[in-house]
């Protein structure tokens, strides 16, 4: 891999990587088992040149202030080669990348585009259509929109086709615009689609240092194949499915559809080495595997149980992939036979599920991180395997527990060069979150004697779904505006009633009825209807009727912490009516 220490910026390191690993494969894209294309680092470089040139011709990177809105470019795309080509071209041109979640609604995407003030947008035709049909599009002010995958007869609403745009830059060399380590590399939104946007400003230093520390424990090299499943706009995949493999000369495999059957097929076809998953996807793999094992004849199941015991004994101190592959050849063949680790993060993982895979010789490294810390804070280094923790702090990252209780549980705070610069245009929130150089995560945890971090819940009013989505109650409230009650407020149930777990987190809507109003079937039905309009992972799980007015500030904002304390003191969780 490249030695990242001397580099000043991501684009400098990536530019050198494309030369160093010129003939190695960097990208493979497959669609329903059909390979669409395969690019070497040299081909990748050649494809990005005209794109970067065309972006520069429209002004990207030209503003002398590296942080200027005129230098910000957003990407809204599913995982595909063009995502990485576009990201490379933006950084090469000195731009600041704004990766946005393609799973958001058009309206939500417009809100974040407006907040980031990105002057450029590179997106897929389907998402562009979604944006142009959304409320608020009239106020959309990007200077240049490039769309991929647009049908021949599509009405582009002011956008330019990718192919046409790239052709404009053909035959001319783009200018390489250097940046310093302290300059902004990306603005990544950790939440705030409906409320207060949280745009984490991450610097080149953040990414270079995070990449350096992650690859200490999980190195890539030419020949390694990383299966990119998590959305590339997510901090994890951006690091482990782009920066990490690229600076090491490894290959990234993209699938245009993430149906479980094609994901399973990809493991074997491309002999995958590493993959990062959220617990929900891992759970699905576990379910399929358990079902197949249960269908085995009784004698074979007994034999397998014996092998599991043997493997457990042999891999007690560290994984021994070569040995485990011999013990469970059929299972490992299904995973491609070269899998070194599944890295799981983004949400709570059930230790029993992690143990299930490890027992079959498939190491699962559980980790913990947040966008504000670039990607990862702790990861299990598997020496030894610990399903009950989220691992130890990565090299160069410090973790402390503040205000621990009698059991040693307190708020997890993090310090290191991976910690973001600030929240975009929100000094107040930045000051609340980063104090004396320490990032206050709002998560509750404990460090054990071996320095492993164990998580026990959250101090903050939010939930993380099994799919790794951060959901802030304030962001959901807009969807319930106009509800026929006097007032309402949404909370994370574990915030109202603290529970020492991160499993099955739920949202609850607290309803304050009008005087004399009864919360009957009509209201229940209204809640259900509105709830169903939300994406499944954003739904409220139940409601609670509260007969007192909500405490409010002078500016009439609900005092959420005070209300939560009142509810906590008066009502138990069992009072929540399921929706």
């Amino acid at each position: 891999m490249l030695d990242l220490k001397p580099y000043q910026s991501l684009q400098e390191a990536l530019r050198d990587a494309l030369e160093t690993f010129h003939d190695h494969v960097c990208l493979i894209e497959s669609d329903r088992g059909r390979e669409r294309h395969r690019l070497t680092y040299g081909q990748f470089r050649d494809l990005t040149r005209p794109l970067a040139r065309a972006l520069q011709d429209t002004g990207l990177g030209a503003d002398p202030d590296p942080t200027a809105a005129a230098n910000r470019a957003a990407i809204i795309m599913t995982n595909q080669s063009r995502w990485l080509l576009a990201a490379y071209a933006i950084h090469y041109s000195g731009g600041v990348l704004v990766p946005l979640d393609y799973k958001l609604t058009g309206r939500e995407q417009l809100a974040l585009l407006a907040h980031s003030q990105a002057h450029y947008l590179i997106t897929e035709w389907f998402f562009w259509q979604q944006i142009t049909r959304s409320e608020g599009f009239a106020d959309f002010r990007a200077r240049c929109v490039v769309v991929t995958d647009a049908p021949a007869d599509a009405e582009l609403c002011g956008a330019v086709r990718w192919e046409e745009f790239v052709a404009r830059g053909a035959g001319r060399e783009p200018v390489f615009r250097p940046r310093r380590r302290s300059d902004w590399a990306c603005i990544v939104y950790s939440s705030g689609t409906g409320g207060r946007p949280k745009g984490c400003v991450l610097t080149h230093d953040n990414y270079l240092e995070q990449c350096w520390s992650l690859t200490r424990w999980y190195p890539f090299w030419p020949g390694v194949r990383y299966l990119s499943i998590l959305p590339t706009n997510h901090a994890i995949d951006f690091m482990v499915g782009y920066i990490g493999p690229f600076v090491c000369g490894a290959a990234v495999v993209h699938l245009r559809t993430l149906r479980p059957e094609f994901v399973r097929e990809a493991f074997a076809t491309y002999r995958i080495t590493y993959v990062c998953l959220v617990p929900m996807v891992l759970k699905n793999l576990e379910r399929g595997l358990r079902q197949r094992l249960q269908e085995l004849p009784w004698l074979q199941r007994r034999w397998l149980a014996g092998l599991v015991s043997l493997n457990r004994m042999l891999t007690r101190g560290r994984p021994r992939p070569w040995l485990s592959r011999r013990l469970f050849p059929a299972i490992h063949r299904a995973f491609g036979g070269e899998l070194l680790a599944i890295i799981v993060g983004g949400a709570f993982s059930d230790p029993q599920m992690l143990q299930f895979f490890y027992d079959l010789g498939i190491p699962v490294a559980n980790g913990y991180g947040l966008t504000e810390a670039c990607t990862a804070v702790t990861v299990n280094n598997l020496k030894p395997f610990r399903p009950d923790t989220v691992g130890q702090p990565l090299p160069g990252v410090e973790v402390r527990i503040v205000h621990p209780d009698a059991d040693g549980i307190g708020e997890v705070v993090v310090r290191g060069r991976n910690v973001m610069s600030h929240y975009l245009d929100d000094p107040e929130l930045t000051a609340e979150t980063i104090r004396d150089g320490w990032l206050y995560t709002g998560d509750l945890g404990r460090l054990d004697r071996d320095g492993h971090l164990q998580l026990f819940g959250r101090k903050k009013n939010m939930i993380v779904t099994a799919g790794g989505k951060n959901i802030y109650p304030e962001d959901i409230e807009a969807f319930f505006e106009g509800l026929p009650v006097k007032e309402f407020c949404i909370f994370a149930a574990n915030y109202l009633w603290p529970a020492r777990t991160l499993a099955d987190e739920q949202l609850v809507i607290v309803l304050r009825p009008e005087p004399g109003q009864t919360c009957g079937d009509a209201l229940h039905s209204e809640l259900t209807t509105r709830n169903r309009r939300l994406q499944d992972y954003k739904r409220v799980h139940g409601y609670l009727v509260w007969e007192r007015d909500f405490p409010r500030t002078a500016s009439m904002k609900i005092k959420r912490d005070v209300l939560a304390a009142e509810i906590r003191a008066a009502v138990e969780r069992s009072a929540m009516v399921p929706l």
């Binding site: 599913t78 393609y102 149906r259 059957e261 929900m280 996807v281 699905n284 499944d536």
Partner: protein, 80 residues
Amino acid sequence: MRTVEQTLEEILNLAAEHFRVPRTQLSPDDDFFKTLRIDSLQALELLTRLEQHFGVELPDYEFQGVTDFRTLADRIQARL
């Protein structure tokens, strides 16, 4: 060419068969995540089954946010 009502009926039949629930328990406006007790990955499995049945390719992202059988039928009908 099928009508959207026929498409809807076929989807309901296929969903009932695929997830082994009585057809009578499913209705067009049901939230299929709730009625079938499935997660988003299992919903993608259903999408594959529907692709095979209707002989069309259905991009995953076009079905993001779709939670009821009727909308599902509308989206599929648009591609038939």
